[in-house]
Symmetry: D2
Subunit: 405 residues, 4 copies
Amino acid sequence: MNFNYTQKSIELQQKLTSFIDEHIVPIEQEHLDFQSDSKNLWKRFPKIEELKQKAKEAGLWNLFLPKEYGELSPGLTNLEYAPLAEIMGKKIWISEIFNCSAPDTGNMEVLAKYGNEAQKKEWLTPLLNGEIRSAFLMTEPQVASSDATNIETSIVLEGDEYVINGRKWWSSGGLDSLCKVAIVMGKTDVSKPRHLQQSMVLVPMNSKGLKILRPLTVFGFLDSPEGHAEIVLENVRVPKENIIFGEGKGFEIAQGRLGPGRIHHCMRLVGMAQYALELMCQRTLERETFGKKFYEYSSIRQEIAKAQCNIEQARLLTLSAADKMDKFGNKEAKDIIAMIKIVAPNMAQKVIDSAMQILGGKGVSQDTYLAHYFAIARMLRLADGPDEVHMYQLGKSCIQKYSNL
Amino acid sequence: MNFNYTQKSIELQQKLTSFIDEHIVPIEQEHLDFQSDSKNLWKRFPKIEELKQKAKEAGLWNLFLPKEYGELSPGLTNLEYAPLAEIMGKKIWISEIFNCSAPDTGNMEVLAKYGNEAQKKEWLTPLLNGEIRSAFLMTEPQVASSDATNIETSIVLEGDEYVINGRKWWSSGGLDSLCKVAIVMGKTDVSKPRHLQQSMVLVPMNSKGLKILRPLTVFGFLDSPEGHAEIVLENVRVPKENIIFGEGKGFEIAQGRLGPGRIHHCMRLVGMAQYALELMCQRTLERETFGKKFYEYSSIRQEIAKAQCNIEQARLLTLSAADKMDKFGNKEAKDIIAMIKIVAPNMAQKVIDSAMQILGGKGVSQDTYLAHYFAIARMLRLADGPDEVHMYQLGKSCIQKYSNL
Amino acid sequence: MNFNYTQKSIELQQKLTSFIDEHIVPIEQEHLDFQSDSKNLWKRFPKIEELKQKAKEAGLWNLFLPKEYGELSPGLTNLEYAPLAEIMGKKIWISEIFNCSAPDTGNMEVLAKYGNEAQKKEWLTPLLNGEIRSAFLMTEPQVASSDATNIETSIVLEGDEYVINGRKWWSSGGLDSLCKVAIVMGKTDVSKPRHLQQSMVLVPMNSKGLKILRPLTVFGFLDSPEGHAEIVLENVRVPKENIIFGEGKGFEIAQGRLGPGRIHHCMRLVGMAQYALELMCQRTLERETFGKKFYEYSSIRQEIAKAQCNIEQARLLTLSAADKMDKFGNKEAKDIIAMIKIVAPNMAQKVIDSAMQILGGKGVSQDTYLAHYFAIARMLRLADGPDEVHMYQLGKSCIQKYSNL
Amino acid sequence: MNFNYTQKSIELQQKLTSFIDEHIVPIEQEHLDFQSDSKNLWKRFPKIEELKQKAKEAGLWNLFLPKEYGELSPGLTNLEYAPLAEIMGKKIWISEIFNCSAPDTGNMEVLAKYGNEAQKKEWLTPLLNGEIRSAFLMTEPQVASSDATNIETSIVLEGDEYVINGRKWWSSGGLDSLCKVAIVMGKTDVSKPRHLQQSMVLVPMNSKGLKILRPLTVFGFLDSPEGHAEIVLENVRVPKENIIFGEGKGFEIAQGRLGPGRIHHCMRLVGMAQYALELMCQRTLERETFGKKFYEYSSIRQEIAKAQCNIEQARLLTLSAADKMDKFGNKEAKDIIAMIKIVAPNMAQKVIDSAMQILGGKGVSQDTYLAHYFAIARMLRLADGPDEVHMYQLGKSCIQKYSNL
């Protein structure tokens, strides 16, 4: 047992931090202003492409991608990637610069692991190169999608084509002008056992019958330029080769996809909370009321102390989960993955809320990333499974472990 | 002691509810769609004016206005008004229909209580008629405005005019096209004792030198069409007659303004929480996971039970505060007013958060009012004094009461 | 609606307070010392009987007893009794002085309402006179007794006698030397519908076959001299006349018993929390750390402010429940009774915990009543139904109310 | 970074667990019965001495003692000792069997590190051998002892003797019949700078003038046979050689003593919480209400899931603190030590409270260790510094770290 980062990890952290200090910090205010100006809705921040190029050149590219899949990545373990994801999480918009954004990361892993050569060539390569982006169409408005067996979208083989009908929402990234392909989860055969009915198919975003109904808001955020799309699929036809890994494999792929993806989210959430902590610490020096600086108030120190305790605990739990996944695989690590899914977004929501309180009006406005991070953290208590589902399963697993159930 | 509403109060509640059922419920979806369409930014919902007219005819007008000030109102006590504010709070956008919106209500009370005849004629009358709206310019970006003595805007008498310089933000309603006048808090004489330096002046929104810099967002919401403005005042000149109640009276007026205004906010927050409770109850019937309807889950019932307990307690506390204000005045009621300021927004934030969790993605999106209400509740933990300031003062008062401090 | 106590209520509160100031405050330290000396285990505090006599003479006797049952009481409504119960709750050991202790109060109500004349003469009269005390034998160690249908004790008619077999625990008061009779809940006929199987019988404590196995501790408290008994009933025989209200009426009686009893508990809990609040306020003046008096710390003021908010809300909720019970009966008031059952003990536990933290070592020791009150509050989150059962039922009821379930 | 225990650590854990399974589990009920029988007050459990002998023979002795001090110990690092402390924490009474009980462990470390040869020979050797026990007299009833500069006990040199006067309380272990010596903290010179006034002297428990006034209770528990003593020191005289490390070194020694001691406490708290978790898991299989087994209730699973998340996080945080202390020393680790001081007892209190709720009446009674563990956890939120003091300092340190304060 050893709680120090390895030399390799420390060096990568420093490299990433230097890149950010040199190339990103100087234009951060520019980005904040761009984002909060409604004239720029659905436009991509102009400097992103040039920064992507620089990151690629610096070897800070596809950092998330495990060794076994990637020549285009440094081939990090989850444990090595985790602190980098945390650093990117502090400035959430920059993940894309390093080609480490959701849902692309998960989609690339799916294609790398389950895709055939043709699929890889057509979609994985441009994704790995950062030339296109992608969407993941799973959640549906009409059913509780936290139980994946509820999904109703149908994928029916007719001749050489799959015909897809259904309605999806919360398809994050679906509104991005670079988004060219979606992985769609649906049911190919409802007569099969519950966990063998689902399949995933690749659907180009410009397919006939695929219609973006509207962007959804998270609190009031549209999350431009990616957005969260509500999409209708009406008799969308794709070649039968677009099935991923075969019919009935949808549930299995989904399970495999969620583990590492969640580690990424959780480390980013740790980074967002860390951002909030640093902001509130700085604020305590700037303001005073009733003749005292904020930092002199014991109640403010308590908020900060609690935040630090909670961040550090969530960080350790997530790193421990990463280590377990690396060593024993996602299945063996399922309980601790459930734990971080429960802990990280709740922790981040609480810490950011505290920071908002100390920053006052500034904290809820567009003048910091706090309000946006709050919305992300809140959303992540629901996205790929609400807290309650994870607690339901973790509780059961725990009872089994300590009893003879 | 008696916990039943009076007959008069019940009748008014029924009348208001009937009006809403008849005139507002049928167009609610239309309003939700209007609001969430970015094309309509800064536009007023077209049917508002006609609904205001209907409400006026029905005698549901200026409900907030106490007997002593108002011919144009039913002249209710705080205790009588409270359940009506709760009802309006369930559909927050409709307060304006009954001319009961902040910050107009507080501004009308200030003018009714402290304004001279000319001020009343010019500004109070059109406000009471719902012909114009108004803003309250107090909070400043550079200082912790929760301590009103920090305020830096200067109001300097030069000849027959006051010259105003300063920067204000969170001027709610300031972007509304109907907003014609602002009450501005600033300092007329920094050589006076701390609580006698402040004054309030009336400043027409079209004054030269008054510039709206930008709308602020609250968790991504612009709160169109009212908005929250950041405003700069550069050598703005108003006639010296525009001073309200005399120089050095700013702090006193502010104190008087906050009490009842907060009762209004708190009852609206109770209404918003009640809306969230009803929504989540209904949702439990619609959804199922893992073979069980939501309402069968004990954890979901717990959330609902806790929400109900917290709503009912906050409701009683706010009603009790209203009763105390009616009987003994704002000063005598200051401790219980501090209590509701602490309790109501925190309660509402928690209940709405629970509802979001049960509604899932729908709960954070534009498809219900939940996310917007969350933002309002969160903001109200800061607006006219953060939780911490109220706890600081209430704690001190409590210690004095039970000891010999 | 009116939040002021009536003149009658205020007078009674003053009378009770005067009695306490005159007769009880001077001997409080003596009682605290008596209680915490292990030599006095199971001994009754010697001055109790003389104080009972004084209270009876002062008309402060059987205050809990509703008008319809009592000549030996002032005949108060629940709403009138509530503030008196709160006052007694601040010094929990004194309830007995006014013949207002659990479980006697509930037992007297059962006998007054459901007992026949012979039962009343034999047991109710001496209870009303404070000559004897009583126990209520419901909870069983082997089953989850929060679901009363789980109870296993058998009550079998054999000739002219009922033969009782079973094991009970948490029979509060069972170890008191004055405890002469128990009301025992058991099943007379398991072939009946679930809620008609139970009956209640009167069992003298000196019955052959009734054996007190041991006193139970609550945290480390034995709660001498009353105690919480674990009792075995082995072929205990009582005349068939000892059945209360008839066979199969046990569940119905239990339901009727719980409502008002809980109001008593809840108001006492409000009193205990109020005691804790006052203690912590006083403490803030006595202590200092790092150069500051405790009352100057904003974090301490926050604890006090939150405590006050929570106490006042729970007080209002309990008073509102009392009012509802008086006006509409226990059945109609069941939801708000569930609410106070959930709210009051949790509130008291939290407030007392805060007070302990401010009092430090003294707060957990025998030098104040805090630790004992904490244990009582904690126990009351379980006694006659854990929080979870009330939330389960309240949640269901709420869902039914706001949906079409 | 690596989250697996080392082979050495795993072997020690297995060895300790085997010892417990073989020698302690079979007599656990006997111990529980012995403890809860008031006849045995202040008696030592008869089998302790024989178990100590067995543990010594098995090499499971003085496990806490670092390599540099101990021949009589396996010489473990904090990180290696931590999981053993957790295992002992699950059955708190057994720490003494392995000579790992507070306050002896801290006292032995003080003597090993700061004692001279004569002091070591007279007191450290028998302590290391488990022949005697010891007390640590620091806290005083009259002042807030969390600020050590408040301490008032005087230690005055008169000729060849120190004369000690003062009153101490919460001297844990002071009532144990084996307790032969106390380390007393007091002031030797109030004219020195604030942190150089304090000194520590060794005082035999049978010194003339040292009088145990009474045992203190913790939530009703006397914690026999060790107890928590209130002690008066009246002109107690000890040879001047009894000073530890020299006059004015008291504060420095205290600082050094607290770090590792707290790691021990925190790991024991993790163990206590783990015990509670396992107990509640088992309980969910035994009980049913309203036709469902406890483990089927989603609310119960949530409690268990949350408990597991919180335990695992506190465990990792404490292990990380141990690692930091081993590598960089107590001073460098002060922030993370403050974190575990805040986190561990609060976590344990919460988890044990949840377990009590699921176990019902049994959970608060003497039938499990839960209530006792609750009292310990609650007490540890106060002992050597309340939560608030640690948050005050941690908050300050955090602000300094992320700002230029």
